[in-house]
Symmetry: C2
Subunit: 148 residues, 2 copies
């Protein structure tokens, strides 16, 4: 399916993501997970609900992810499944101009996450996630306590 997206469409989506899309990774405290955190990644597009029809048409090109209408009327188009994120990155990466570093790091994080075996690996993963936060917000690193 995705192979049918033309390079013109991919380039459009890259421009859309560069301008206003979000790419982020969260380490959410969750005790049911082995090291006390759930790692979740997202690629999100936004639009106001007045452009819903055209925005939905645009998103339907992608054939990945899902749509969500927020209480404030903003529509989010969210890709959050790991395999879909990788698929999408591979599609648009050659056309991205501003957010190349984020896409590269996100691929690295998803790859490392699959390989985590012990606490040492997990700390490495958390450090990459902090690096990602810095790319996005230029903020200080969060302090986290790993369990157990």
């Amino acid at each position: 399916m995705l192979e049918s997206i033309s390079s013109i469409e991919k380039s459009y989506l890259a421009g859309f993501l560069d301008a206003d899309g979000s790419i982020y990774v969260q380490a959410k405290p969750n005790e049911t997970y082995r090291f006390g955190f759930q790692i979740a990644s997202y690629i999100v597009f936004y639009q106001s609900s007045k452009d819903e029809k055209a925005f939905s048409d645009m998103c339907s090109i992608i054939k990945l992810g899902h749509k969500r209408v927020r209480k404030d009327g903003i529509i989010e188009y969210i890709i959050s499944r790991q395999e879909e994120i990788i698929q999408f990155i591979n599609l648009i990466e050659p056309y991205i101009k501003l957010k190349k570093a984020q896409l590269e790091l996100l691929k690295k994080i998803i790859d490392l996450k699959k390989k985590v075996q012990d606490k040492k690996d997990f700390i490495k993963l958390i450090n990459l996630i902090d690096k990602f936060r810095e790319l996005n917000y230029s903020k200080k690193r969060k302090k986290r306590t790993l369990t157990p």
Copy 2:
């Protein structure tokens, strides 16, 4: 020069404009103008200053307009000369998915502005500008008093 922009680049710029660009027209009260208003149109791209280098590279493809750094650190890339707006619209219009109506109306406004001969024409122009505001903000029309 502009002919050298590839359709891939045009499509990227269209995605960028659809996602986060502004297209707007203002009727600014100004008594030195014949009917008491200066009509000014803008196409603007935004980016935070941390991406300045990549953003400038992107804007340099366009070879129109100028860059401005706002006090809050946001960089604006602004196309405001009428002929340049028309040139730019012609470049990207075929690739635009969300803001087609704005581009169409802006072309109409710039065209009508050139032809204004009397107050009746000018009122027609002001009405088009109000229609443009509605497209952008879904707000009520402004009340304006024309001079003289």
